[in-house]
């Protein structure tokens, strides 16, 4: 069986939700026993006084939900991103504080970062949403269209995955590995959650549109919301706490495998945007997906990856290469080893979410007339 139909769904998922990994190459299944669906959830970790990160614990997979950040101030709370699990996150926040949420920042326009706006507004009627100015056009149009595709495709995707698991096969119809089994089970759980939350949920546009950013002043706390440049999308915002030196990056930084969309990301600009992030010298990075980082190593690795892609694509374009020829000319094997190591799931994800779309994005920018 060829994996193509599923990969098409993967692409839809990547567009609308972002995905870490797709089914990897076959390995002999070590255990034939189906594993229960991995727990869907997140942990809440205190990063500084009044600053809490809600970090997803899902294993790498096709389906993801986003991290969030709670910034508890003297009189209110500022929240970063509104994932699908926002109802659960509201409960988690209420365990921390009874203060109302004053503002919620959407780091970009993808549903796993904005769909929960309606949930937060119901829980905190006074909340106001801050987003990049482009959300106002994107969400009702391309965003709504992507959501429809996702709602149509996701259940079918989940049942196909379940069928593969029942057969003991991965998406390539090869014997399924433990890693893949855990990943698929998590994906199926996330799809169920998605279908329980998203259909019928109202799109809530920002109350405040920013182009470059703004600063929220809360006593001695400063919360800077900044568009450092294009990267994952042209709507990317970071939330920067200069006193605490904490940066919530949105999907400009995703770990373990960066997340690139061929038609939405801007690989050309991405290294410069990450340089601007690094110039802030954050002590802590809270990525859009993946664990909290206490040093800049991974961010630098991601920057170097995109810089290398741009450089290699430029060379190919200078020789007059087509997109297909450029794909062949670009060699990212060393980076793939760096990001994916020996994990087949991550290697496959690297091919799907970095090599393919990133080269296409860089090629498009290198060949388009400004």
């Amino acid at each position: 069986m060829k994996p193509k139909p599923l990969l098409r769904i993967c692409t839809v998922l990547a567009l609308t939700l972002g995905a870490w990994a797709c089914g990897g190459a076959a390995e002999a299944a070590a255990t034939p026993v189906p594993q229960p669906a991995a727990a869907v959830g997140f942990t809440v970790d205190k990063l500084a006084d009044g600053v809490y990160a809600a970090i997803r614990t899902d294993p790498p997979g096709l389906m993801v939900d986003a991290n969030s950040l709670f910034i508890v101030n003297d009189n209110d709370v500022v929240v970063v991103d509104a994932p699908e699990a926002s109802a659960e996150m509201v409960q988690a926040l209420r365990k921390i504080t009874s203060k109302p949420v004053g503002f919620l920042v959407n780091t970009h326009w993808h549903d796993d970062h904005v769909i929960g706006n309606a949930i937060w507004r119901k829980a905190y009627p006074g909340v106001r949403f801050i987003g990049h100015a482009s959300l106002r056009e994107y969400l009702p149009q391309a965003g709504a269209s992507n959501r429809r595709n996702m709602i149509e495709g996701a259940p079918q995707f989940a049942s196909q995955m379940q069928a593969q698991m029942d057969k003991g096969k991965n998406l390539r119809d090869e014997p399924i590995s433990d890693e893949e089994r855990v990943s698929y089970a998590s994906d199926i759980g996330l799809v169920k959650h998605y279908m329980a939350v998203v259909p019928g949920t109202e799109t809530v546009l920002p109350d405040i549109d920013v182009d470059q950013g703004l600063t929220l002043i809360r006593g001695s706390r400063r919360i800077e919301i900044r568009h450092l440049g294009n990267g994952h999308t042209k709507a990317d915002l970071i939330v920067w706490l200069p006193n605490e030196r904490i940066a919530a990056t949105g999907d400009l930084v995703v770990r373990p495998i960066p997340l690139v969309g061929s038609d939405q990301s801007h690989v050309r600009d991405w290294p410069g945007t990450l340089d601007a992030l690094l110039a802030l010298s954050p002590a802590i990075f809270v990525p859009g997906h993946g664990p909290v980082m206490h040093d800049a190593d991974y961010v630098k690795q991601e920057r170097d990856l995109f810089a290398s892609i741009n450089k290699q694509v430029d060379s190919a374009v200078a020789q007059g290469d087509t997109l297909e020829a450029t794909r062949k000319a670009v060699d990212l094997s060393a980076f793939r080893q760096q990001f994916a190591g020996a994990s087949k799931v991550r290697q496959f994800a690297f091919g799907m979410y970095v090599t393919g779309p990133a080269v296409e994005s860089a090629y498009r920018d290198a060949t388009s007339t400004p």
Partner: protein
């Protein structure tokens, strides 16, 4: 008409020790009455004698559907910037809270009659105190209110607004020299006080006394949200663009534009009938006015003065500021002071255009444009533009 704009003078000199009486720009000196930029700068043409308003009167002006401006009365002495209410389907936004807490409470009561939408945002046009000293009253009346200012403005508000709240305690000290003049019948230099001068001093004292309760109510409240160039606020089927377009009246001027109503609210980069140029940026100001002039406008709300339905005054101010700087540059040579420049420059055409022979307006013009404006022009020509400040005589 002689009106002492004490409050503006206070705004100019801040809560620091008031300048000495010998200082021609002291709000308490007779010369200040002649020179103070605030005197007529914030008044309309002299009102008919029959039209008498109480101090702190304001007019409520319908600007466009859902947009109302509360404009200080032409007759009041105590300046207060215009306050504008913009109402959308789900929320309202106010531009500037004004100078006086009790006035603001009356304005808020009037706003509630106009709309039941909560005021969720209060945007401050710049850091001069006649535009935001009633922030606390708005915040009290509208819980969850977010106060917005440009990045430069917010810390300046903290500095000057933060200490201006203590000004009320110093009022008696400041009035003492004036009371002594009345008691002795003599100015500090020993010259007798003429009856008209005595009347002006009495009026000044009366107005300060009248403002005493306002100062007693002042509590400082600064910005919650700042930005550099632009944010857009959705009030529900109504967007409001808040923007900074470069230095002009101050380095942090905020403008509001409501696209659906084509209404532009400018702050003090436009003040009618005489522009206000203390601490301003003369070469950059016209550039910003040019940008403002490019907006499609059905109405322009200045920082002080009446709502304008065309761009005539905006263009007049742009040409005035350009002309003042050009004339200063024409006559200035290295080593020349601002006073030297004033002695040889000719602003008569501009003065006539803005004052049309009105002596009161001319005094305002001389204080704001010929004095303060030329000071700034010369600073620019020297390459030594001083930081904006109310700390000391500049």
């Amino acid at each position: 008409m002689r009106v002492l704009a004490l409050a503006l003078a206070v705004a100019l000199f801040g809560a620091a020790a008031p300048p000495a009486l010998s200082d021609p720009r002291s709000p308490f000196s007779d010369d200040a009455i002649r020179n103070s930029a605030g005197i007529a700068a914030f008044t309309e043409v002299p009102p008919p004698a029959a039209r008498v308003h109480t101090q702190f009167h304001y007019d409520t002006v319908h600007v466009a559907e859902g947009i109302t401006t509360f404009i200080e009365s032409p007759t009041i002495a105590m300046v207060q910037g215009n306050i504008t209410l913009i109402v959308g389907d789900k929320a309202a936004l106010v531009i500037d809270s004004g100078h006086y807490p009790a006035v603001a409470l009356r304005v808020i009561a009037d706003m509630r009659k106009l709309s039941d939408k909560p005021v969720r945002y209060l945007a401050i046009t710049h850091w001069h105190m006649d535009h935001y000293m009633a922030n606390s009253q708005f915040a009290d009346e509208f819980p969850g209110l977010t106060i917005v200012a440009q990045n430069f403005t917010a810390p300046m508000m903290d500095k000057y607004g933060g200490r201006y709240v203590n000004y009320g305690a110093k009022i008696e000290d400041n009035l003492k020299p004036l009371r002594e003049m009345l008691a002795s019948g003599k100015a500090p230099d020993g010259t007798p006080i003429a009856p008209d001068r005595r009347a002006r001093i009495e009026k000044a004292i009366a107005e300060v006394e009248a403002a005493r309760p306002e100062f007693a109510l002042m509590r400082y409240r600064g910005a919650d949200l700042t930005f550099e160039n632009e944010i857009d606020v959705d009030l529900g089927n109504r967007m409001v663009r808040l923007m900074h377009l470069g230095r002009g009246n101050t380095a942090g001027d905020l403008f509001a534009y409501v696209p659906d109503a084509k209404v532009l609210i400018t702050g003090d980069i436009l003040v009618h009938p005489i522009p206000f140029s203390f601490g301003s940026y003369l070469t950059e100001w016209p550039v910003v006015l040019k940008k403002l002039g490019d907006f499609d406008t059905a109405a322009i709300v200045p920082g002080h003065g009446p709502v304008m339905r065309d761009k005539v005054y905006l263009n007049d101010v742009r040409e005035l500021i350009e002309a003042v700087f050009a004339e200063a540059r024409r006559v200035w040579k290295p080593g020349m002071s601002a006073d030297d420049v004033r002695k040889v420059m000719d602003l008569s055409a501009q003065r006539d255009k803005f004052c049309h022979g009105d002596k009161t307006l001319e005094k305002s013009f001389n204080a704001s444009i010929e004095t303060a404006g030329v000071d700034r022009a010369v600073q620019e020509l020297e390459g030594k533009l001083k930081p904006e400040s109310f700390d000391e005589e500049e």
